[in-house]
Each structure stands twice: as C-alpha cells, then as structure tokens.
C-alpha cells in the first residue's frame, strides 16, 4: 500500500511545554485518517507540523516521500490545509477569494475556471458567493474555506476540525462532502474531538492524549477490541 504520510517519533516542545511526545503513524493513499483526542492533546500541533507551518523539535515526517523539514516547498505542492480557526480575506467576495486561491494551482485559464466552479459548487452559497466575506455567517465562511481546500483536487487534504462550530445541518453536509472527495482518490488526514464524526468518516484512527498516541486502528477494530458501542467509549476506556 502506498504511504502518503509517514510520521516517526515526532516531538514538539514549546519551551517547557511538551505538546507532542514522540508519536508515529502512517496514512495510506486514498484513506481518511483521523487524529482523535480531547482539546490540547497535540492534534493541531501535529497537523500544523505536517502542513509545514511549524518546525518539529525532533523526529521525521515524510509526505509523498518528501521530508517535511528539509523540502517544505515540495510538500506544499501536494497538500491543502484547512486550519481549525481559519478565516478568509474579508474585503474580497467569496468568488474572488476562490479565484485568488485558484491562481496558485493552475496557469491555464480554462483549468482555473473549472477549479473555481468546483469551489463554488462545494461552497454551495448560491448568489451570496458574490458578496463580501465580511457579510458571511460562521457556517458560510467555513463552507467557503472547505471549498477552497478541496476545489484544487489535492492529493492530500489536511483538515483540522472540519466541522468546528457548525450546526447539525452544515456539519452533515460537510461530512458527506469529505466522504465523496475521498472516494475520488484524495487522501484525507483530519483531526476531531467529535467521536461520532470520526466513526462516520474515518477508515483508520489514532487516539491521541497528552501528546502520545494511545491507540491505533479502524473504528470497527477498536470497538471490537474494547467491546464498546462507540469510539467515545473506546477513548474513555483507553485513557482510564
């Protein structure tokens, strides 16, 4: 099986705070992989390091064979990252924002047009796509940002809490969207503290707590292993 991400003994310290304490995992091509854990478990730090935003204290990460620490420019060609607390440029309209982002992924006008149209379909904002981002609700902004991350058909989408702060309807739509994209061949690495979401979306998960991966496997395997009804129960059992 092709490995898209290989994380080995990853450590990240912020001064005296040990955010990540030597974790290792792999993500295979085409799968949805979830990093699951409570707040401050080290999920976002791990995703930010893989996305080339933060530098690791020690360890090694490879994305499509490229070393994240040594070849960040190469890694950025393959990834599309959606931060948990992201925003869009407020003075641009939703459409202009998508056009701006599409500019970085294609030189061909036709192709760029296709990317933007795909983005508008994913965002599903109707006529509001022509309005300024500053007038959008939180849900609308999140849908625009997810559209930005997925419209370029990335080889690897890194989504940090993709449904964070959204209502039930919006969250459901976004989960469906992620699932469909994965079927098209995009590898997805996501983080969440919503255990139900993880169960619905992920092929495999790693449970992370206080910077350490405490368990690995598919949701089904883990439920069977711990004789639990859902991942929430698995997690509680593991960290007990």
């Amino acid at each position: 099986m092709d490995k898209v991400i290989e994380v080995k003994d990853l450590v990240k310290d912020y001064g005296n705070i040990h955010a990540v304490r030597g974790i290792s995992f792999q993500v295979n091509k085409g799968e949805i992989f979830g990093l699951i854990g409570p707040n401050a478990a080290g999920k976002t730090t791990t995703l930010r390091i893989i996305s080339t935003l933060l530098q690791m204290t020690s360890g090694e990460i490879k994305v499509f064979g490229y070393n994240v620490a040594k070849e960040p420019d190469e890694v950025r060609k393959y990834i599309s990252y959606l931060p948990e607390e992201a925003g869009a440029y407020k003075n641009l309209s939703g459409k202009v924002y998508l056009e701006f982002m599409a500019d970085f992924f294609s030189d061909n006008l036709e192709e760029k047009k296709e990317i933007v149209e795909r983005g508008m379909r994913i965002a599903n904002l109707g006529e509001r796509i022509k309005d300024k981002v500053s007038t959008y609700s939180k849900g609308m902004t999140r849908r625009l940002l997810l559209a930005r991350a997925l419209m370029v058909d990335p080889k690897l989408a890194i989504l940090d809490e993709p449904t964070s702060g959204l209502d039930v309807v919006n969250s459901h739509q976004i989960r469906e969207m992620i699932k469909n994209f994965s079927k098209k061949g995009t590898t997805i690495l996501l983080s969440s503290h919503n255990m139900l979401e993880v169960e619905f979306l992920c092929d495999r998960i790693s449970l992370i707590d206080e910077g350490i991966i405490v368990e690995n496997g598919s949701p089904q395997e883990l439920k069977e292993k711990y004789k639990a009804n859902n991942i929430e129960e698995v997690f509680m059992e593991v960290v007990r």
Binding site: T52, L53, P83, Y89, N91, D103
Partner: protein, 417 residues
C-alpha cells in the same frame, strides 16, 4: 512570477477598501478647502488696505501728503477725531490717518511732526492686523523724500544718500571656488525647500508604507488567513516581497494624494521656489544627475522602511497592535527629521552625528543638501548604507518567514515566571 503578481493584486484589493478610498477623497477635499481658505486670507491681507484721512492742518504740505496717500477719495471731511472715527467704523475702514493742526509748521521747523494712525480692529486675523504696517511703509517713503529735500537744501552738491546712510554694505557669497555678489538670504528659498519639502515627503511616504505593511500583517493574523497563505505552493520570499510591493503601491497612492494636497495647501501662501541667477552663478542648482541620485536615495529609504516594517509586522497580532508596532519606525523617521531641519549635520555633536548617520532615513535628507554642493561621496555612501541595511532586513525577514516564528513571534511585556 505569476504567483508574485497574484499576491500583489490580493494585497492591493485587501488594503484599498471603500473606507480608504473615502478617506482619500475626503483628504483631497479638505486640502482643497484649506488651501482656498488660507489663500483667501492672504489675498485679503494683500489687498490695498482701506483707510481714510482726516486733514485737520489744511495746508499745502498736508495736501501733498493726502495726494501721496491716494488723494481726495480717501479723505473724511470731519472736523473732529471722534466723528471721523465713527464714520470710519461705519464705512468698514481699517485705519484712520489724522494730520493734526500745525503739521506743516512742525515739519518746516524740524520739530518732529506727528501723524496719528488709528487702526480699527474688528478681529485678530492676518487681514485685520496688516493695516498699520502698510500705512507705516507709505509714511516712511514720505519721510525719506522730505529728509532728502532737507539735506539737498542744507548741503548742496552732495548726494543726500551718502549723508543719510554713510555706511553701506556690499555682500558676497562664497561657495567653494566661486564668489558671487549677493546675500545668503537669496538662496534661502532653495535651502528651505530642500530642508523642509524632502523630509516631509520622506516622512509621509515612509509612514504610510510602513503602516500599510504592518497593518497587512496584522490583518492576516487577525483574520486568520496567514496559516492558509503559508501552506500554499508559493515561495515564502514571494509572500514577503508581494506584501511589501502591494502595500507600497497602496501607500504610494495615499502619499501622492496627500502630497499633492499638501503642496496645493502650501502653495496657497508660500511663494514657489524658482532657480534664481545667484544659484546658477554659485553652481548650486540641482542638475539632472542630482535629481536622479535624490530619487534613488528616496527609493532606497522606502525599501528600508518596507523591510523594517515587515520585520515589525511579524510581531503584530492584529490591526490594533499593528499601530503600536509602527512606533519604532515613526521614531526613526522623526529623529533625523527634526534634528536636520534645524541643524546641519556638520554642526552636531559627535554622538548625535553617529546617531544620525546610523539611522538610514537620515540619508535622503543629508543627500538633498549634499547634492546642492555636489558632495557625491556622502550621497553615494548613504545610498550604499541604505542598500545594505534593506538587504539585511529583508534577508532576516525571509529567514523568519521560512521558520515558524512567523506564526509564533510576539512581544510580551509580562515577566516570565
């Protein structure tokens, strides 16, 4: 390169908001109105001052004075001062000149004749205060004529000017190997324009461009767009330079509007500086090469400001803190601005001299004066220093952008435990 242009375009679109365009239009209107207003006051002050004369002497000599001051049309035919003043107030006249009885006699007998001048003030504006000044200059003229005729009568065959002003000056200005007849005041216009206009232009452009760059970084952090931007497949050096160029373009538009307005406002009450013959004779006129070097010097100063602002912008957490982050830049511009406006660099003490030379923004100001004297060594030296300074600041900024400090850097005034 395409990505670079895309970043510049985005930067301009983000910064050129409706509010900013509105403030630019407002600024143009404000300067226009101020210029018109101040120009109007000046025009009013320059208009021949309305005054009236009361001739209580009624002699041939007092008649001559009346004629010199504009003739019968200005005369108020009243026989006492109080009535004349009331009439003057009614007619909105600003000054009343009274020729008292016995005036001719006092002049003839050289007893120091007195003309009384009553300035009628209705306010404290420039126009209101200029009336007596104008009348005094006319009286001085009359005085000189009377004195000349007295001297001519007393000492015939001599030039009255040689007796009234036995010592006169013959002034020369020496610049390097050239000596030209004239006074230093004659080159005052050029010196003023170089020592005021250049620093003002520099200050406006630097403050605006610095503010734009820092605000742009603050906005990226406040709107949480920086993380996404940094994970795009674009070189970090493009992000840095794209931000600098985009912000500089917006700043230049703002600064140009501001400067045009400022110039219009200043020209409404300041005479324009033109190349006078003395400047050419002294070889002090700015040559095309001087203008080129001055332009390059200003450009390098802007480059320094932009690269320094990018560095400072790294510490801005939002648009509010961006305003504070601009302070060091403002101080660096203000110090040479005020020091060099009043003093020449050569007259400063050694520590101040070192300080001024060390601040990169001093160099265009120094250059603007050094170029008049064709002191190219000082100018080019300053340019080299600014180029190195900007290069180092940009190198450090790009290095930081290539690390995670771009996201984590912040100033903390709290004590570490």
């Amino acid at each position: 390169m395409k990505n670079f242009y895309t970043l510049i375009k985005k930067e301009v679109r983000e910064l050129m908001t409706r509010q900013m365009i509105f403030s630019l239009v407002f600024m143009i209107l404000m300067f226009g109105m101020m210029g018109k207003f101040v120009g109007g006051i000046k025009e009013e002050a320059q208009k021949s001052v309305s005054f009236a004369i009361v001739d209580l002497d009624k002699t041939p000599f007092s008649q001559t004075v009346v004629e010199t001051l504009g003739g019968e049309k200005n005369v108020i035919k009243e026989n006492n001062l109080e009535e004349a003043l009331n009439k003057a107030k009614e007619k909105d006249i600003k000054a009343l000149l009274v020729i008292p009885e016995g005036f001719e006699k006092d002049v003839e007998e050289m007893r120091g004749a007195k003309l009384e001048v009553y300035s009628i003030l209705k306010g404290l504006g420039i126009g209101d205060l200029s009336s007596s000044g104008m009348i005094k200059s006319v009286i001085n003229n009359i005085n000189e004529k009377i004195a000349t005729s007295f001297v001519q009568e007393a000492i015939p065959g001599k030039n009255p000017q040689d007796i009234m002003n036995p010592i006169r000056t013959k002034e020369f200005v020496v610049v390097r190997d050239r000596t030209v007849r004239g006074s230093p005041e004659m080159i005052q216009g050029l010196v003023t324009s170089q020592s005021v206009m250049i620093p003002v232009i520099l200050m406006i452009v630097i403050m605006y461009s610095g503010m734009m760059v820092i605000t742009s970084m603050g906005m990226e952090k406040e709107n949480k767009t920086l993380e996404t931007l940094l994970t795009l497949p674009v070189k970090r050096s493009y992000i840095v330079t794209g931000k600098m160029v985009g912000s500089a373009l917006v700043a230049l538009i703002m600064a140009t509007v501001y400067m045009i307005g400022f110039r219009y406002y200043m020209s409404s009450f300041m005479p324009s500086v033109e190349s006078t013959p003395i400047l050419k004779d002294l070889g002090l006129a700015m040559t095309p090469l001087s203008y080129f070097l001055l332009g390059t010097s200003l450009f390098l100063a802007i480059l320094v400001a932009l690269s320094l602002s990018m560095l400072l912008g790294l510490f801005a957490q939002d648009t509010k803190s961006a305003q504070t982050m601009n302070m060091p830049l403002v101080i660096l511009v203000m110090v040479p601005f005020f020091l060099l406006m009043f003093k020449d660099i050569r007259t400063l003490s050694l520590p101040l001299k070192i300080l001024v030379y060390a601040i990169p923004f001093s160099h265009p100001i120094i250059a603007s004066r050094a170029l008049i004297f064709q002191n190219y060594f000082l100018v080019i030296g300053g340019m080299l220093y600014m180029a190195i300074f900007a290069g180092v600041a940009m190198f450090i900024t790009i290095r930081i952008f290539n690390t995670d400090k771009v996201l984590t850097a912040k100033f903390s005034f709290k004590k570490r435990k």
